[in-house]
Symmetry: C2
Subunit: 730 residues, 2 copies
């Protein structure tokens, strides 16, 4: 890495030479890994996690694309640059690093970059640091090649515009602070609980007024892990500790002193090692024979470097991100009619989440999380299980992240990429007895999936980007993990007074699953055949026929309404007043004169019903509509604002849209919010089966004809010969 | 079959003896087929279509369950009985058989029947016949064992209540009639088309007034198959032939004489044999390596007889049906806490479809199909491609149907059943850095799918019933095939006058994809822990907090509203006024006092916006709401009425609901309508990529805790060793 770093600041000629050297060495490395990789046509066995590691070790050492995330070496370089730069160089405590990630080159630079022809644009890092002592935040841009800080802003931090994302250190300090606090320990013992049995979690305090404007705060609540790894099912109800994250001390203990018993640990431990020991009294799971996705000839996709994926005419850049979890960039698809690659989406990611609980009482009212900006959707994304989180042979992509001390660390297998076949068909047709023609044509449906999973406390989110051969992109969010539950004195619904609101469902003795919502807001920078796009509301309206016009009294007619400004593109979905929503390139009409476009197709969803001026809803005003369109602005990427922690909602998508900028034939960004209402039920205890919602980005008059027309059906020869592992080992 | 048929009418003792003989011989046959079947643990290779045939030959000879469909022998017996019964015995022309299928025993008989303990209830057939000469329809019940007609109604048929389903003969006569009609041939030649190039299709005339009350009518339209198997893309626009189905002659020729050119056949032929010959000029499909679902140890489900499927605690009866396509009965699931089977659904099926096109002009206004009642969703369900319609090794179930002459015929592989793994997770959880506990537990998601596909003319519908290990049932309808298109003089949108409505999208030169809707209405006879159920609207309402009650201004509260009568259960879905919809058994509360239930969870859907008094909407009034609940009535199964062809909509779900019967703590039927608005686009030409919608039936406080708690993760040992077929053959 170093030679190039040096080279990049010198004359362009010399830089180019070195870049060329890189590309050659890269090709050589790629070739080496290729030989033993799942992508090798010679390879007779499916790639394993170990063979994928060859990709990974490569991935963390050499950037080959302008959007490749910072490598271990690059993050180390950034840190070394910071160490000689005030205030990091000063004797004062080293400001904590809340974010250290790639500073993306400008969109125009990335779009004009050509691999092998242009050198990589200068590699730069965006650093967000925070000094508790001065209550100042620092926004720095570090040029890695020249090892210089090329930009340094200081922002006096306050709840007025919120604080940066929590660091791992913030969280561990917050959860340990109470244990140094005698009154807390007293409160625990008064419940006849042993402090050593407790696992505590740091919860953002949110913003509700003066209290949350005084300091950087977390609310800590605890659970008992006695008898179970599933401590979330054993809340110490009615005990909340308010902690100052900067002064690192307990400010207040909220103890309602109600004698709420600790829910039982009986059969709550989900670990398979524990469950498999259960007697038949607790009926065992029915044995299922293994069923797996097999590709003896290897996957059909290739990986350039670590992040550029090519498959079935698609080319896209996939990277892990500490805040968004996973970012899809430069999604382009080859047009079968011309053989040329066409732009579809410049950048897509989960921008922010909103998870409000529906319990206004002391220990619960503040639970209205903005997970991406408060915790970091990517910081909470753990390593995937290579054979259970993703199909066998999936390509595992590492995440390279920075700690609060600025040091890099690798999170192995933070993202996986795999091909999917689920026994469905991409297209089919049979002729029936009516025409008597003997035709049965069926094409199996094969797709490519990029996946990451974030474990934000009790909840596990799985985000899939699925690409189809017909040009459709399906985004799926799945929720799993465990519920956030509440202790209660009640053991049976018969004990509950008629008009008492439990704010949820009695799941088992002494345990309530509290009603809550989930919203996930996606940033979708669509560039359909280029950046200049328009948003069209393709409205479906009932048209009544005139007298004598037709035996029909009515039919549905389509009215196209092009959105002129951001206000025209604030969409609430209506079942009885439906529309399609197209992002079109009006200057690139099809051969028969239709504008080329992609439409967003919402799946089943839910809308937030909270008062617009309820503090949590103000901070999450980006959920006030299901769809928004804004004029592209590089600084408007995070729907809840750049600084979300304890924010007052003064820098959200809703404010940006209020600028009401023109969006016709402009570079525009599409925003979609997916929602879930969750009324818990007993089946959500003690673990929660996965629930999913999807939306699609679908080509509409983008292709001349359906791209899968030439797709091939399976023949028996396509199928492998498989034997059980055991029979082979014998 | 004969011995038992004789036995069934004699003394119970003797009958039981024979039943026992059956069960033994059945076991023997089952064992034989088992040895070479995919269900054999000894089998090292995945079952093939041929090994499945062993099941099938067995399936068509012996009924083992009260709901097993009529066998070949039984249908032959019924026909022989009819031949000695007037009017079938008379010298008059043999009345055409429009339906000959199992007359289900009463629900109470089926629910109390125990295999191996009770004999099969008497096997009976329901016959719908029609005499054109007398314009009488005959509804007969034939007892197969006693070979007697035990019930015979004659109904004077008229458009007042509609005609029976079309027979294959009706359709072929309708499409050949025009070719014996000189004016039609003249109209074809005047378009300089060769009659021999035409493929014509019979379209139901629907009901719009006097014309459709005069006779049993079809409207025939034609397409050119010159140069392509995809004749649907080459409509002979503006030529419609009205045919009398009984008199078998042309009544009227509607010829708008507009010079609308025949759209080009260029690259419309979808057959792979044709496509693979295409030059690289028309870019070939990117080669994808095979990816398949493999189960070297065989599937985990078992099949008793041909129709009883057992898998992962589920037991259900699956059968092909000439009208519904596929019927799921007696769905029960084993409760892991007690080991006992619990009832979930007595019967579920697609009851009716509604497909209105949005073009009020002469050749199009009448296109508003009720496919199940007019064409027969099952009659149009062709044999599935055993390796492309379903994953390799799927269990293929034959359909046994009757022709209009009453003779039986077998449709091989009309339904398939298979296990699915798509690389998704049923449940997962990781602990993160916050708690620092090292946990990563993931359970792969494996499901069971029963599938059929109906090719109703140009459209192919795929209906999946998917069963999960956590008790969830997902119903998915997928649409594929080709569009119904319209010829036009326009070659480019620039030629279309500004205010002219094309009623659709210009797909290619001279071809319009007409806007249309699809609705599929499902009959769901839920029996949650038994027949006595109630329907509960679990309403989610915003609750504002009182002054000083909480820093929160609002939260969501749940209000349960039990539907007293059918009127209370007519539901239109509202995004901003949401509810969950539960079917509960109020007398079977859970251990903590919640009623046990299942909820229906709608997916993305569409609602019909047509005028309620528009004739097509009157006939399809069952789509006026997304959800209905009616009191169970064995005669109310077909949402559009028993006789749908040219019906006036006087016998639909909407009328039944008007009875406003009590439905609290009763045997109730849940009805759900799934909808699609389809604005065609160029990607729907010349073939249509599959589009799907789903809804779920999901346990809610039905289980004490999540049933998959004890599910097992995969280990490397679970995975097979696979080699490409080719490498083996070498």
């Amino acid at each position: 890495m170093e030679p190039s770093a040096a080279a990049a600041v010198t004359a362009v000629a010399r830089r180019r030479l070195l870049i060329l050297l890189f590309l050659f060495s890269l090709l050589f490395f790629a070739y080496l890994s290729f030989l033993s990789s799942p992508f090798s046509p010679h390879s007779s066995s499916i790639g394993t996690a170990s063979s994928n590691r060859k990709f990974r070790s490569l991935s963390s050492s050499l950037p080959v694309h302008p959007l490749d995330p910072l490598t271990v070496d690059e993050i180390s370089t950034v840190r070394s640059v910071l160490l000689s730069h005030p205030p990091f160089a000063s004797p004062n405590p080293f400001p904590s690093i809340h974010s250290l990630s790639l500073a993306e080159p400008s969109k125009s630079v990335v779009r004009s970059w050509r691999p092998g022809i242009n050198p990589l644009p200068p590699r730069r890092a965006l650093v967000v640091a925070y000094s508790p002592s001065s209550s100042l935040s620092h926004l720095l841009t570090v040029d890695i090649s020249s090892k210089r800080v090329i930009h340094h802003d200081t922002v006096p931090l306050s709840a007025a515009h919120g604080y940066p994302i929590l660091t791992a250190d913030d969280m561990s300090r917050a959860t340990s602070a109470p244990f140094a606090d005698p009154p807390f320990l007293q409160a625990v013992r008064s419940r006849s609980l042993a402090p050593s049995d407790l696992t505590c979690v740091p919860l953002p305090a949110g913003w509700f007024g003066k209290t949350e404007e005084s300091a950087r705060l977390a609310k800590v609540q605890c659970y008992s892990h006695a008898g179970t790894a599933n401590f979330y099912m054993r809340p110490v109800e009615g005990l909340t500790v308010l902690v100052d994250l900067d002064k690192n001390r307990v400010i207040e203990i909220l103890d309602n002193k109600q004698p709420i018993p600790l829910p039982s640990d009986d059969d709550t431990d989900y670990r398979y090692d524990v469950q498999k020991k259960k007697t038949t009294k607790q009926r065992a799971q029915y044995k299922l024979n293994p069923i797996t996705l097999e590709q003896p000839e290897g996957p059909s996709f290739t990986v350039e470097g670590a992040h550029v994926i090519r498959w079935a005419g698609w080319e896209l850049h996939v990277r892990p991100d500490s805040r968004a979890g996973m970012i899809i960039s430069r999604a382009r698809i080859n047009d079968p009619e011309t053989g040329k690659a066409r732009e579809v989406m410049y950048k897509g990611m989960a921008s922010e989440l909103f998870v409000p609980y529906m319990d206004p009482t002391e220990g619960w009212y503040f639970k209205a999380y903005l997970d991406a900006g408060e915790y970091g959707f990517g910081l909470q994304a753990m390593s995937l299980d290579p054979i259970n989180d993703c199909p066998r042979g999936a390509y595992l992509m590492d995440g390279v992240l920075a700690g609060s001390d600025g040091r890099p660390f690798v999170r192995p297998g933070m993202v996986c990429v795999f091909e999917r076949y689920e026994g469905d068909v991409a297209w089919r047709h049979s002729e029936g007895p009516t025409t008597g023609i003997n035709i049965r044509e069926v094409r199996p449906k094969i797709t490519l999936v990029a996946r990451m999973s974030a474990s934000v406390g009790n909840y596990d989110y799985i985000v899939d980007w699925e690409f189809q051969t017909d040009g459709l992109i399906r985004i799926k969010v799945s929720l799993s993990g465990m519920l956030m539950v509440k202790g209660t004195v009640y053991k049976n619904m018969s004990q509950v007074p008629e008009h008492e609101d439990l704010y949820g469902t009695l799941l088992t003795e002494n345990l309530i699953g509290v009603v809550h919502d989930h919203y996930v807001t996606f940033y979708l920078d669509m560039d359909v055949d280029g950046p200049e796009n328009s948003f069209v509301d393709v409205h479906i309206v009932k048209q009544e026929t005139g007298a004598g016009e037709s035996p029909r009294k009515s039919y549905l007619r389509v009215e196209r309404r092009v959105a002129k400004t951001e206000e025209d593109a604030r969409i609430k979905l209506k079942l009885y007043d439906p529309s399609e929503f197209h992002v079109v390139n009006a200057k690139r009409t099809s051969s028969v004169g239709n504008p080329t476009g992609y439409k967003i197709v919402p799946g089943a969803t839910a809308a937030s019903l909270l008062d617009l001026d309820d503090p949590p809803q103000e901070r999450a005003a980006f959920t006030n509509n299901q769809i928004w369109v804004t004029q592209y602005n590089a600084s408007e990427e995070w729907a809840g604002g750049f600084f979300v922690y304890q924010s007052q909602g003064k820098d959200t998508l809703a404010q940006w849209s209020e600028k009401n900028r023109p969006i016709e034939n402009r570079d525009i960004v599409l925003w979609y919010t997916m929602g879930f209402h969750h009324i818990p039920c007993q089946e959500d205890y003690p673990i929660m089966p996965t629930v999913s919602s999807t939306f699609d980005l679908k080509p509409v008059n983008f292709f001349r004809r359906n791209p899968i027309l030439r797709a091939k059906p399976y023949t028996e020869d396509d199928f492998p010969v498989c034997r059980p592992q055991a029979s082979v080992q014998k």
